[in-house]
Symmetry: D2
Subunit: 354 residues, 4 copies
Amino acid sequence: MGGNSFGNIFKLTTFGESHGPAIGGGIDGCPAGVSIDFDKIQHEMDRRKPGQSKIVTQRKEPDTVTFQSGIFEGVTTGMPIGFIIKNTDQKSKDYSHIKDVFRPSHADFTYNEKYGQRDYRGGGRSSARETACRVVAGAIAKQFLSGISITAYTSSIGTISLGENHHNLDLSKTESNIVRCPDMAVAEAMIAEINTIRKEGDTIGGTVSCVLKNVPVGLGEPVYDRLHAQLGKAMLSINAVKGFEYGSGFEGVKMKGSAHNDTFNADGTTKTNHSGGIQGGVSNGMGIYFNVAFKPVATVMQSQDTIDNAGNLVKMHGKGRHDPCVVPRAVPIVEAMAALVLADFTLLNRLSKK
Amino acid sequence: MGGNSFGNIFKLTTFGESHGPAIGGGIDGCPAGVSIDFDKIQHEMDRRKPGQSKIVTQRKEPDTVTFQSGIFEGVTTGMPIGFIIKNTDQKSKDYSHIKDVFRPSHADFTYNEKYGQRDYRGGGRSSARETACRVVAGAIAKQFLSGISITAYTSSIGTISLGENHHNLDLSKTESNIVRCPDMAVAEAMIAEINTIRKEGDTIGGTVSCVLKNVPVGLGEPVYDRLHAQLGKAMLSINAVKGFEYGSGFEGVKMKGSAHNDTFNADGTTKTNHSGGIQGGVSNGMGIYFNVAFKPVATVMQSQDTIDNAGNLVKMHGKGRHDPCVVPRAVPIVEAMAALVLADFTLLNRLSKK
Amino acid sequence: MGGNSFGNIFKLTTFGESHGPAIGGGIDGCPAGVSIDFDKIQHEMDRRKPGQSKIVTQRKEPDTVTFQSGIFEGVTTGMPIGFIIKNTDQKSKDYSHIKDVFRPSHADFTYNEKYGQRDYRGGGRSSARETACRVVAGAIAKQFLSGISITAYTSSIGTISLGENHHNLDLSKTESNIVRCPDMAVAEAMIAEINTIRKEGDTIGGTVSCVLKNVPVGLGEPVYDRLHAQLGKAMLSINAVKGFEYGSGFEGVKMKGSAHNDTFNADGTTKTNHSGGIQGGVSNGMGIYFNVAFKPVATVMQSQDTIDNAGNLVKMHGKGRHDPCVVPRAVPIVEAMAALVLADFTLLNRLSKK
Amino acid sequence: MGGNSFGNIFKLTTFGESHGPAIGGGIDGCPAGVSIDFDKIQHEMDRRKPGQSKIVTQRKEPDTVTFQSGIFEGVTTGMPIGFIIKNTDQKSKDYSHIKDVFRPSHADFTYNEKYGQRDYRGGGRSSARETACRVVAGAIAKQFLSGISITAYTSSIGTISLGENHHNLDLSKTESNIVRCPDMAVAEAMIAEINTIRKEGDTIGGTVSCVLKNVPVGLGEPVYDRLHAQLGKAMLSINAVKGFEYGSGFEGVKMKGSAHNDTFNADGTTKTNHSGGIQGGVSNGMGIYFNVAFKPVATVMQSQDTIDNAGNLVKMHGKGRHDPCVVPRAVPIVEAMAALVLADFTLLNRLSKK
């Protein structure tokens, strides 16, 4: 119950802190017979890794994954896929200034209360470094799910919003710019905004949107394990996420049922898709789309009031190389979590009929 | 894996369709020694039941729960709490018109594809009638959680929005009107809106907000079982929900980190609460608050284009007594699901230290 | 975690005490499309029910199951199968003599310590009455598993042992006598033994053996969920069970590897079957067979020394109508649990390959 | 569901094959604040490791565990404890002779059928090498469980049996000889027997017994998760195990209830302990004891008939350095699995009362 596993059948279990020797984990339940393209896995890792552009943290971490098991002669064997991502040499002294101090809006205070102690070096387990493991597992899930396309992109940074439905976007352009927004003009504005924020020593939030295409009918389980409920949990488990909506989402509450209903074509497709590709918690074959809200990073390069372990009011000032905005690096993480959910429900869906 | 259980330790498992003999289930993991006030349970049931006011479905169902086990001499024994809620006499003929027709934006099509068949009578398992079981379990969870307050309310109906932070509201007034909005003037407008919509044979969506107070520090598990991830899944598993946000939510993405961070007071409380009472996935002792988006009900009293099992385009017209808006009845369901999450994490939190 | 569920995918969750209004539960994960023969279910119930012969308890309980959900027009729908078995009118006064007294070798003392209280009426949740729910679920699992034969029988009562390998027995004769032993002469001796014991006001143990035929290759999951590990857990979860062995079992430890190894025929079958149809935790297509040890029933019709809640030494004397030996009624329970395990692993085995 | 996790709360998940780069895993749910003595962990590893004496396999593997996470400054943090045990350089050519051949009574055939392929090098995932991970986790569980003693020993090798109840043994002598039998004379006979068997190129089975003392009242969950059911599953999941019995076990079936019942002393202890320290599935504070049957190792240094992938009858001859008897090395594995079960139920038992 420790909260370090995700999924029912296709199941990821991870371990590791940001400043221990390594992070890693195991993927249980990946079927045998999936050919693995290791370059594709590293490609996903590179999309998430620090230092990839001027608008993300300048830390240099190669984020190389080494597999320990479960893949034999390039093909999955049905056995758990163990993997390790070494942490590069960390200067522990960098973190001495936060040993006894609770950083505002971090997990420092809550972990300390819950566990009676904490690994204070850079957030330890609460660091977003853990998401590298998700990207490894998601990259394998994507290869299992060949045929389904999973595409996320940056849809807003601060107040700069793409303002377009995904139907009107050319998502193939997402990776052509460093902020991962498929509209080049909006992307430029977003990049400029992050640069401005970074120079202020501040941070900014944003939104990632994700589109899942060619999802077969039938994924999702009734009642408590609806497809969108598990997608929502997957996204809300990512560091810094504050909200999730799918299909018509929060705007849809303003609509009337007669307008919101997606009437059928003869082939079972629907004329509109306010449902977001999911009806009764089960995929209906239409495109699935959802939005994920990321708050601004809590570590700012400014002086802040806070308290220490003893309850004394102290000042602290962010140090080190942090992201002014997590959103560009969050895009592959959102895709990875979506892939894990779809892989899990794809397997569960084999069990619905006699 | 069938998707009919919720929770890890304090765990609800349900069964039953809207038109079978009964719905019911079992609550496993409720500790021994909780004194049960049965009137409080029925009170929660009454808040959810059909026919309670002019703006909800006029179906008459008493929704009486009978307990089968797990409570002895008025106190929980630690054994599973089994319960049954009988379905009152249903006229199956009422549903003959939908036997071979897929209602738009319902689960008819997806269930039929997934399972190769379906109980077509009123939605069967996909009916929101299942939520009565959640209210039973939530009412027991609330009694286990004595000391924590869980209060939901209607914050928008269509475009009519409360527009106020929960801090400025007197939540004790929520139950004083039939739409369950704590501001009487806004409530009147909401009720009028629902009435108008109902007369049009149409439906409308809305938003439920929820506030959790006196939650101790430490609830929630790291990484994949963050408190807000499980709250999100709980809410997204409720029929008709399209979105979930907590704390600063989707609006918070526009903020800078320096403004969004919640700086500490000496006692560990924070000066602001953009975090929504949760940091690093673990409650920090501040108030927890979140919003849940409900789409308009799919059953409208209008003629709609649809298809039948054979793929023929046909016309259908909603019949029966349906809710023009689910939001007023959803308020106790949101509370119930929040209670289940808190009960589960309260128990898990006993396991964090040696 | 309350311990009231069994299985991963094909999952039974039960509730109910021996002297509450009813016992019951839900079966989650049974695939859609299984035609249900209700007479076969009742037939299994009748094999377990009290009062069926002179060598079992003379309590009269019809043990009629009523299904609440999950079966529509005689076919499973993929939705949870809820069911209720009413407890017939119990005289609570029958149990006043044990309200404050701990019966030796029962759960009275341990439950009281663990939960701080207990439902003292006839054992409450710890009563073997709960096994009626297992028989319901097992009967449905058997219908899902059509093609696999699951046959248990009484192989020893006290010191009277069948002493024959199952290969040399005609298992079709098992149900032809009330002790459920396929050798009529041995059965007579067993029946006489139980009668003698019963007249002494005493009880006796015994062994149930079980044979599973036509099990396809591939059931069972590596490492922790080996087929025999889950079979063992299933059997050890039945009231009064003290041991489980499969294949060559405890006797096999005396063999040399060269003799114990099952060498192959060209078609993948093996010349011997010391492995008991399971290799590496996975079924190999040969017959699976195992033995289950049942201790003598703890309730004897004799005066015994014991203690009460206050720690006072007191005398107690068994009352009521109890089984002198559980083994004849345990035969269908062993089959039911085996069916649940096979149904679960049959579904899991659909997930092993891409 | 892949079968690579054990436990509910204190949960071990492992990965790795015998001839991949490493085996390892993660322990989730170990509470924060447990001081870890790494020497004690290595001591347990040394009890299991190959090459430790003349009667076990002469393979040389140091079996050094390196922890990756979850322990900070020598104390558990409540985060998952990740660990790696590198496989020393393996000569893959040693296994070319079994690439296309199914070894009798191994997992080769069943894995190949289930997964459509297999890692043929030395058994891969089905190798008992995986049990090294169990010993790591069990050693940590033991440190969490300080106060409870967990002691296993060899009680039979082939037909040479200790023949004594554990009450009459001085278990402190178990580690004084290489077969781990607490009676020195019997140990000598067992060692001689294994030596004889080894020289024949054959193998032999045996029995491990285990005693758990100072277990508090209350461990175990009702119905399906009885303490002995989970202990049984734990033991049956160990390679080569064919049977499990606790308390009076298979012999107890011959007893009458009046003799088998454990009558109480005034302090809640019992005069006898046929129950084996567990009543109603819950520990009663008396010593828990059980026996585990291990079959003879399947790899014999003799020529055997078998088949290859294509169904051809072929001869094969065991090669390499294998155990003539697993029992001496299984003793610490049995202890480790018992420790995992007790740690899990110790945590679950915190949840039984309000």
